[in-house]
């Protein structure tokens, strides 16, 4: 049995298909939110615990690829499993390049679909983990004073206390105090850990949605 908070967002313009997929995924214990259009999906979509999107490629108005593009542009990293009525190679290439999790042709085999969904959820969980770790670091970072931030920037660049004191025009002893405070507030034991935390804060820096 899978965890309760694993959510699948389903999008298909064909109500019959939507219903069938919902049943299959629910039977496997997933939480399923079904939508018949991209518009209604976007209105109620809130990224939460591990989740993924199962998306029909050919939909009226906003199609699957367009929706993928919109999500990427707004910085939402959600694994997408595409479903399509007719296996169109250029389209599948486009989808995969844009970071799709999988590309399946209807009629889709249940085992295949579940495999893809699980993989997508796995990836989502990893994202989730990364994102939550970063969020903690960010919170800790926000507690630093401006001076401590300056000191930390120098420390992660590998500068010695003497060099930092010269650069900031303050005493070396004061630097030592700031440095100890930074290590404590950021919850790290070594400079190496601090460097890793700093990297995360810079590399994975999700801008707010929309």
């Amino acid at each position: 049995m899978t965890a309760h908070d694993e959510t699948v967002f389903l999008l298909d313009d064909e109500p019959g298909m939507l219903k069938a997929l919902t049943r299959l995924l629910k039977a496997e214990g997933f939480v399923v939110h079904a939508f018949t259009s991209a518009k209604s999906f976007l209105e109620s979509y809130r990224p939460a615990s591990p989740h993924c999107l199962v998306l029909d490629l050919a939909m009226p108005e906003v199609n699957g690829l367009e929706l993928q593009e919109r999500l990427t542009l707004s910085g939402v990293l959600v694994p997408i499993v595409f479903l399509t009525g007719h296996g169109d190679i250029p389209m599948s290439v486009r989808a995969m390049k844009a970071g799709a999790q999988d590309f399946l042709t209807k009629p889709v085999n249940d085992a295949e679909l579940l495999l893809a969904v699980r993989a997508a959820l796995q990836r989502s969980a990893e994202h989730h983990e990364v994102i939550s770790a970063t969020a903690i670091l960010q919170q800790r970072y926000s507690r630093l004073t401006p001076r401590e931030c300056e000191v930390m920037a120098h420390v992660v660049k590998g500068h010695l206390n003497k060099q930092i004191a010269a650069a900031l025009g303050i005493g070396e002893h004061t630097i030592k105090v700031h440095r100890a405070r930074v290590m404590e507030k950021m919850g790290v034991d070594s400079v190496a850990d601090l460097v890793r935390a700093a990297e995360r804060l810079v590399l994975v820096h999700p801008p707010p949605l929309k």
């Binding site: 299959l24 009525g85 009629p107």
Partner: protein, 616 residues
């Protein structure tokens, strides 16, 4: 032999001969009452002459008196038969005068037998011998009967009647009849009357010779009648000639002609008609034999058309098949007309038939080729749609598979969710039916078939076509609006071919809008009942029409790089075969709606005839 005997015998025999001839005529044509009256009159004149002769030969006053008494019988007959002749043959004469003459003269005849020796003498006292035509003849002497005046009054009335009738004939322009028949009636009747008045009032010493004058009247009337016979003979010649001309013309034009005398069931037909219907030249025919030659599938229809024409005294036109005894079949076009027989009864049915087998075969060939072409074009159109149609079938299959697999999983759970599984099965059934429906529609469209005109709803056609084209329209990003009229009368048409036409129009419109941004790919389908026709219109917001909107219906006209340019021309030929109309015009700006701009687009109208209400 004396002159008097010879002359009077000749008068009598001549009159009897004429009487016999006209009596025979009347025997053959019982409606020829004028001939009968003439015959009676001639007979009466003959008897008159014989009695006159007897009077001239009378030796005793009693013999003279008896002869004179009997003379009044032919006189009565002569007077009345002339009145009848004038009325019937010449068609003139006042009716009240005619009746007065009849009554007075009959009264006179009665008095003749009741008062005195006869009407003229109370008593014949002696017979006197005088010389007449160098012969000795008897004349009567005695006391004149005053009732004689009544007889002369009747003759006066008679004279007035004849004169009035002659004037009427002259006035209606028949001068020859007025002069010869009317003139001689006036002159000789006058002469006869004057002579008998003078003789019988014993003013002039002479025998009665009125039969001579009556003979002239008989001759004049006989001449009149013979002119009629001559005219009849001439007419019959002309008739034969015109019949020969008509038959010649009909034969030359390839028509076989026939005639049915309904009352006597006499059926006559020309040589050509007999050949057409497979009868021998000499064979005697009946109407039933003709009806039996008609193909059993057409017989009831033709027979009822003929019966209808007979009741209405009208004509009919029918095309039907004739089945010859050797089994061959030929198509015949036939026209007939009923000529009533005076009264309300139908008398004659005349008909003309022509062989139209070749024309029918070429019509059938054209129809067959048109159907083949329509089928080919249908297959081509559908092949354009093949990928969306595949999707249309694939979709329900995918839903069925997913549902079935979901059910499998549900059933392995503990406890299994039976309610959900039952819902799933219901969905599977309906999806399967949906796929079956798509396949059924496709098969109908792909099947080559003959045109089958049936009453159908234009709204259903629109619906059917939109179902087939749905996926394709979504794929092309076209939004569809339908404006369907309610209470639309049924149109007449072939469902499949009309679906094909509409599908073609829709796909053409989509092609015309391919270059538009998705917001301006708007297709409007509407139905309406206008001017007694059902109209289906397809409006787009595409690139519009050239200056000559009709050019798009020309064969090989195309704006697509891979198009054949036959679609619309085939559509138009299909619609023509439905006796409908297909034409194009620019989309009116109002119909384009909010998304539309001045760019317009095209509207194609398809008009179809409606079901005619059949006479109950």
């Amino acid at each position: 032999m004396s002159w008097v005997t010879i002359l009077w015998s000749m008068i009598a025999s001549a009159c009897l001969t004429i009487a016999a001839i006209h009596f025979m005529t009347w025997c053959h044509r019982r409606t020829a009452w004028a001939d009968l009256s003439f015959s009676v009159m001639s007979t009466a004149v003959a008897f008159y002459a014989v009695i006159e002769l007897a009077m001239m030969r009378a030796q005793t006053p009693a013999a003279f008196a008896v002869a004179l008494r009997w003379l009044h019988v032919p006189t009565w007959a002569i007077v009345l038969s002339i009145v009848v002749f004038v009325r019937l043959h010449m068609g003139v004469g006042r009716l009240w005068l005619a009746w007065s003459i009849g009554v007075v003269r009959t009264l006179v005849l009665c008095l003749n037998f009741l008062v005195g020796d006869n009407l003229n003498y109370l008593k014949v006292t002696q017979v006197q011998q005088i010389r007449f035509l160098s012969e000795t003849v008897s004349i009567g002497k005695g006391v004149a009967n005053p009732w004689m005046l009544l007889g002369q009054l009747s003759l006066l009335l008679w004279f007035a009647f004849v004169t009035d009738a002659t004037i009427a004939v002259w006035r209606r322009g028949d001068h020859r009849q007025a002069l010869i028949t009317g003139g001689s009636l006036i002159v000789f009747a006058m002469a006869g009357v004057v002579q008998s008045v003078l003789v019988l009032w014993q003013i002039v010493q002479a025998p009665l010779t009125a039969s001579v004058f009556y003979l002239f009247i008989v001759v004049a009337m006989g001449y009149d009648k013979s002119r009629e016979t001559l005219r009849a003979a001439q007419l019959s010649d002309e008739l034969r000639e015109s019949e020969a001309q008509m038959t010649l013309a009909a034969e030359a034009a390839g028509f076989g002609v026939w005639m049915w005398t309904v009352a006597r069931d006499r059926f006559w037909a020309s040589e050509r008609w007999r050949r057409l219907f497979g009868f021998d030249p000499g064979q005697s025919l009946t109407f039933e034999m003709f009806i039996q030659r008609i193909h059993s599938d057409d017989r009831a229809r033709v027979e009822s058309a003929i019966r209808q024409a007979l009741t209405d005294h009208a004509g009919y036109t029918e095309e039907y098949r004739v089945q010859l005894p050797d089994g061959t079949e030929r198509w015949v076009s036939s026209r007939g007309k009923v000529y009533p027989n005076g009264s309300r009864k139908p008398g004659l049915l005349l008909g003309a038939s022509i062989d139209i087998t070749d024309r029918k075969h070429s019509e059938e060939e054209i129809a067959r080729q048109r159907n083949e072409l329509a089928h080919l074009s249908r297959v081509t159109t559908l092949s354009e749609l093949s990928s969306s149609l595949a999707h249309e079938i694939n979709q329900p299959l995918a839903i069925i598979l997913t549902n079935a697999q979901a059910a499998q999983r549900l059933l392995t759970q503990n406890p299994p969710d039976l309610a959900e599984a039952s819902d799933i099965l219901a969905d599977i059934v309906s999806e399967d039916q949906r796929a079956g429906e798509v396949i059924r529609r496709l098969r109908a469209l792909l099947k080559p078939g003959q045109i089958d005109l049936q009453p159908l709803s234009a709204n259903d056609i629109v619906d059917d076509v939109l179902r087939v084209a749905r996926s394709d329209l979504i794929g092309r990003g076209v939004t569809v609006h339908t404006v369907l009229a309610e209470n639309l009368p049924d149109a007449v048409g072939d469902r499949i071919q009309l679906q094909q036409v509409l599908l073609n129009l829709i796909l053409n419109s989509c092609d015309a809008m391919a270059a538009n941004p998705p917001m301006r790919r708007r297709l409007t389908l509407s139905t309406a009942f206008l001017n007694g026709m059902v109209r289906v219109s397809v409006s787009d917001t595409g690139c519009g029409l050239s200056t000559d909107p009709d050019s798009i219906f020309k064969p090989f006209y195309t704006t697509k790089k891979d198009g054949l340019g036959l679609g619309l021309s085939i559509c138009r030929s299909i619609v023509s075969a439905h006796t409908g109309r297909l034409w194009a015009e620019p989309t009116p700006p109002t119909a384009v709606g909010a998304a539309g701009t001045a760019a317009g687009g095209a509207t194609l109208h398809l008009e179809l005839p409606v079901v005619r209400e059949t006479k109950s």
